[in-house]
Amino acid sequence: MTVKFKEFEHIISEQFRTEEAFLAEYQKGDYSFSNPYVKLNPYLIAPLTALIMFKTPEPTDVTITVKGKETAGDITFEIKTATEHMIPVYGLYADYANQVELVLTNGEKTVVTIQTEAAPDSVKLPSKIETTPEYFGDNMMFVSPTSPASTAAYDYKGDARWYGTLNTAFDIKRVKNGRLLLGTHRLVTPPYHVTGLYEMGMIGKIYKEYRLPSGYHHDQFEMEDGNILILTQDLPRGTVEDMCVLVDRKTGQILKSWDYQKVLPQNVAGSGSHSSHDWFHNNAVWYDKKTNSLTLSGRHQDAIINLDYETGALNWVIGDPQGWPQELVDKYFFTPVGDGEFDWQYEQHACVVLPDGDIFVFDNGHWRSKVKENYVAAKDNFSRGVRYRIDTERMEIEQVWQYGKERGAEFFSTYICNVEYYAEGHYLVHSGGIGYLNGEPSNRPPVQYTGKDKENTIFNSITVELKDDVVMYEMQIPANYYRAEKLKLYCAEDVLTLGKGELLGTLGVTEEFLTIPPAEEAGLVPQLYNVKIGLEEDRVIFKATFEKGQMVLLQFEGDTTQSYFVPTTKRPFLAMCVGTFLESDDRAVEFPVSREGLTGEFKITLIIDENKFETGLTVQL
């Protein structure tokens, strides 16, 4: 057979099987406080975590201290009273004999040594870290990659104290139950739309996957009642990143949706990266309870829009009005006021609504004009965190704070990035998409470069925290990171819960192609196409290598035949927000088919140009 076939488990199933195995191992042994059971990386995807288990005759609290390489690096956490103890260990160093101290309420103490393996090269080392342990404490700076690198968390000294091995993407947010919400590593459509969100404990256990029919991208927001706003799209209509949905936290079902095509014209006021396919490029969502509205960032119209939560009606637009129809400008746009400096934002990311109603944004400034003739080159450009004050009665806007402009091209990111608000005057500004091509600041997202250009590309990411305009923290890492998020590893609400995680929502039915071209029977598919087919619980994943321009149809032949068009021509992506899913061979194709709607026995065949090939595979779905 010329086709490689593999059945593999969803990570939730794999983790459950692993959990049952280590629990069985623990039950078989005679473990105690002085001789505890230790499982390193218990859920397979977070190598700098461990689980310590033991019983005590009487209920007791346990204080755990993961010892730092110096005292300031100690991480201490108290776990509440129990007799059956499951103590999560976070903040281990890679390639190190870590000392973990456990102390009971009665003062009894034991020290466990946990030896870890070296981290892979994808866990990048910071090239610069400037802060103090007094300021940063036991916080970690989490970063999620867009260039080849790992999601990782760094302490005050720049040591990685947590990293993940799954290619998770986009935003990382801690939600009210203490767990993290982050994009799955399962691709729906290139270059980076993934099946949905994982809800994961810091130990790496995935409790839920929230799946969406057209996938997830960029951002999510937990509502007060726990339901989640998720950015998505409706792929069959041929556009991307122009919808938001509200997902039920318990069932994963879509409760409500907002379609920006209903409120905005698609072919006006395009930014330098605009295309009709990705006309808005929604990269952030924020719900504001005071105004019961959604604020959404649209990179490809250089616009931050605000929609009424109930009706979806447009309330206002922050952005350079040039190129917009006058009737929209008159009704929805702001006029700059104030004596201070003012710049509009361009190709911005991460809109945050502050407690006083101000809008805090990462202004990438990519091209920094609506008019091609006035585009500003990267070497003369800047990116910044900027805080705007808006008056929605008078439709006036004032720039009240910024950081980054003064750093010029050194801080310039064509894409990605974020800002965070901690308190008045206390901010994070993360410029995570810095790139240099042949030593010059890059005019394009550096992950887009291929071939020789790729070899001559240098990545950088600068994360800064400021308190009353004093830089309190700066980290630089030689990679690109979508967002930076400061979190503590331990969180009282993030309690390890045993049992199998849940797959919620649906991937929907993959759109069939209705026209079947004529083709000659040509036997088994040749080796040169390097066809691989994977069978997962909810998807069939087709991978192969084709030359540009080949016409490919994947067919499932059973009682009925389902056919799927497999794109082989790369779309010229103007917004490669996450490059971590890109194959090194640009002829490589990955096409997942949802198993929903496919029941029975199917022979898998391929039409490649004028030939029809057998794969030799029959699968039971």
Binding site: G238, H277, L514, T515, I516, P517, M551, F565, P567, T569
Partner: protein
Amino acid sequence: MAVAVREINGVELEQLIAEGKVLADFYSKVCGPCKMLSFVLNDVAKNVDNVEIVKLDFDENKETVEKYGVVGYPTLILFNNGQEVERLKGLQQKPIIQRMIER
């Protein structure tokens, strides 16, 4: 009810669109979706009337491509009495093209 799909050049397109309904497919020989769209158009042609369905090679009709602002392939443009009435970019399914023609 059926029409034939035929290949024309930019000059012929100018003459053809002056009157009636014309669906023009700007395609490339090195594009998988274009190859597939050509089969879809053959399929569509069997079920429609009162429309000319024509194909123009993107690389051999640069002036026409520029005149109509075609920026990628495949691109379908529907003309009615000389005016562009609708444009679809990328590979499309048969019902969408049929609806476009019948509107």
